[in-house]
Amino acid sequence: MVVTYGAQRALGPIDLEVPSGRRTVLIGPSGCGKSTLLRVLNGLVSPSAGTVRFDGAEVTPGSALAVRRRMGYVIQDGGLFPHLTARRNAALMARWLGRPAREVEARIEELADLVRLPRELLDRFPAQLSGGQRQRVSLMRALMLDPEVLLLDEPMGALDPIIRYELQEDLRAAFDKLGKTLVLVTHDIAEAWHFGHDLVLIRDGRIVQQGSLDDMVREPADPFVTRFLNAQRSPVTQ
């Protein structure tokens, strides 16, 4: 699979399989193409060569809408719609699909508990919520239709360390409970280690190494792997 913008190759060639029920983390330096790769998965970006398959079927512009409804997607700033309350942000897609209001309400309360969002915040607008709260709502929106896959693009990238830590803990607990297939994009090794089963290190649009963090530390496929890991090592753990 290859993605090009004009004459410039942004991504690929890449051959990647995301195993069902596992948590895969795409890591790499800024601009390496990991976010683009994530957007290829739900058809927001179409590959200029090669194919993307989901559940055995090819993702095409025609099937992208249906595929996206089976994949939740959360981006760095949450991407919440400012004109809708937290509740209506989360409910938007379900309501549009004509799900019964009572069913939607019940699902929202269930999800609020799952992501540990106080219910009284549900009728607030995004502008009235903190960054961490907005990410929790965004995750609720992504989980609304009970998708098989969750795609998270640096969902905690813009948060303060303490809030980030709390959210990481809560999300990990939620993911453990849900057991969904998950693809997380981050440039933070600690976060990758915290969430991921499989790590995929990407550099300049290509996969450098794929495997567990231990594999990467012990048997780096390339000097860059060691360099990337060392550059991110926390002073506290050193």
Binding site: L65, G79, F81, P82, L92, W96, F125, A127, Q128
Partner: protein, 551 residues
């Protein structure tokens, strides 16, 4: 209203508006059906013109229906006989006389007063927008039918008949150029005729610039009467009367039915050598005019003397008596026809004007919103097409309003329709631009989030992008609404009514109070619309967008 209810999307607003438009259009369709063949033809014409306006087929259809509805709302069902008049007092009085006579004959009649100049009236008559209007034989020969053989009354009638137009017998007065002097000065010098004047070189002449330049004016008059070379002062026509009164000049050119002749007690010198062509007042009417109306107009043959016309002009212009009253008094005293004149109170008048003005503003605005928002969406989605759309809409904006109205008359006739079309065209730019900008300003991350949810493009636009852009779009609509209030005043020049009507009449009669009667409510309406939009903004712009920063 709860906050949840208030947080409506603009889509709700648009749906409600579309429903209202459909209802109006349905009513209009019923009215048009009763309107007969002529109405159908006019409807066709509208449809043809509007097909060039662009936008989606649905928006176009809505616009056509809206304009058709407005045509009906603006002028009501067409009366049996429609009388027109030019925008000067004598023509308006004659129009009222004709209208009241036809009315007394039992026909339904409408007087479309103060419709601008000769060209507008003549083309409106040819197009069947009006059936009757007062004209002068001199104007017919020199202006309308210039260059054609129109010798004698028969020649004139033949030239008119070729166009399906007929002419009544002369009403009895001649509104021509003449030379006038103050009565006592003329008496003292013993001057009755132009020949007398030519023999008295000591009389100081002050002539209007136009009269001094015109071929049928001073140059030929001088030759005809063998006037010796003498000093002549050029001055403005309106100032000439004051100069006469003050004695700085002793004779000037005038229109023979100017009411100032009586007011300043002037003597009109007899054109004893028949230099000036006759400008006999007649009514022109369409050959298909109801015979009862023709008979009614026939009763005026030879019944309006010059003195009577001057007297009526004086009552209207100097004593500020309303033209319908002047006309009714004449019919009573001269023909024994009793007509009931409903003189509107000032409040009633303002109310009627407000209604007309409001219809003009709101209908054109609604049509513009229905077309501009989709056009704005196209601009935002397809930047290259958008450049063309914006270019065209901007070009329309640069056409001066008077020019646009005149351009629209051959296509849409006179009345509310061309005014609505002009206002509609002027309203496009602010709304198209604000919609395009508002949509372009929706953050890419939000557009992507909406797409990632699996919403199709239409739903993304309706549920996410338009609501987020609603504030910008509304600002554009507000700008158009306020402009429209101002532009609508110009519509009076082509018979659209509204606040422009008292302003126009006020200028004609030099009546400041009347001008303010149009200008003040227009300003008030602009302010009221601003206020209304503040409220609409609360209802339409979602509350989440009006919140400031995070807590």
């Amino acid at each position: 209203m709860t906050p949840a209810r208030a947080g409506k999307t603009i889509a709700h607003f648009a749906r409600a508006a579309a429903r209202a438009a459909a209802t109006t259009a349905a009513r209009a369709a019923t009215a048009r059906a009763a309107d007969g063949a002529r109405g159908d033809a006019r409807g066709m014409k509208r449809a043809l013109i509007l097909s060039g306006a662009g936008g989606s087929a649905r928006a176009k259809r809505a616009l056509i229906l809206l304009l058709a509805a407005a045509g009906v709302a603006g002028c009501g069902e067409r009366a049996d006989v429609v009388v027109g008049s030019k925008k000067f007092t004598e023509s308006v009085v004659l129009g009222d006389i004709a209208a009241q006579l036809v009315d007394a004959a039992g026909l339904e009649v409408e007087h479309r007063r103060e419709l601008g100049g000769t060209r507008i009236l003549w083309s409106a008559l040819l197009a069947g927008e009006i059936d009757v209007y007062p004209e002068y034989t001199g104007t017919l020969r020199e202006e309308i039918l210039a260059g054609e053989a129109t010798e004698g009354r028969a020649g004139l009638e033949q030239a008119l008949a070729r166009r399906g137009i007929r002419m009544t017998a002369p009403l009895g007065f001649n509104d021509s150029y003449a030379i006038g002097m103050r009565e006592e000065v003329a008496e003292k010098l013993g001057i009755r005729t132009l020949s007398d004047l030519a023999r008295r070189p000591e009389v100081v002449l002050g002539l209007s610039h136009e009269f001094m330049d015109r071929d049928d004016g001073w140059p030929s008059l001088k030759r005809r009467y063998h006037v010796a070379e003498r000093e002549v002062r050029g001055l403005d026509h309106d100032l000439a009367y004051r100069a006469l009164a003050s004695g700085s000049i002793q004779a000037t050119d005038l229109y023979t039915t100017d009411p100032q002749i009586k007011h300043y007690r002037l003597r009109v010198l007899e054109d004893d050598l028949h230099h000036f062509p006759p400008y006999d007042a007649v009514f022109l009417y369409r050959a298909d005019l109801d015979p009862r109306a023709v008979a009614a107009l026939g009763r005026l043959a030879g019944r309006v003397s010059g003195d009577e016309m001057i007297g009526m002009n004086a009552r209207a212009m100097i004593d500020k008596v309303e033209e319908p009253v002047v006309a009714a008094d004449f019919l009573m005293s001269d023909l024994g026809v009793s007509v009931e004149v409903e003189t509107e109170s000032r409040a009633g008048r303002i109310l009627a004007r407000t209604r007309e003005h409001l219809i003009l503003v709101l209908v054109s605005l609604l049509a513009a919103v229905l077309v501009s928002v989709p056009l704005g969406v196209v601009c935002a989605r397809r930047p290259r097409v958008g450049q063309v759309v914006l270019g065209v809409v901007e070009a329309v904006q640069t056409i001066p309003s008077m020019a646009l109205l005149v351009l629209l008359i051959p296509l849409l006739g006179i009345g509310a329709l061309p005014a609505l079309a002009a206002m509609f065209l002027y309203s496009l730019l602010p709304i198209v631009r604000s919609t395009a900008t508002g949509l372009a300003d929706v953050p890419p991350s939000l557009r992507e989030s909406a797409a990632a949810l699996g919403l199709p493009a239409g739903a993304r636009l309706r549920l996410v992008e338009l609501p987020i852009a609603s504030r910008a779009i509304l600002a554009g609509i507000k700008t158009s609404a306020v402009w429209n209030v101002a532009i609508a005043t110009i519509g009076a020049l082509i018979g659209a009514g509204g606040y422009g009507q008292p302003i126009l009449t006020g200028i004609r009669l030099d009546d400041t109070a009347l001008i303010l009667e149009g200008a003040i409510p227009a300003a008030a309406m602009a302010l009221a619309l601003r206020g209304l939009f503040e409220i609409v903004e609360r209802l339409v712009v979602p509350r989440g967008l009006r919140l400031r920063a995070a807590v």
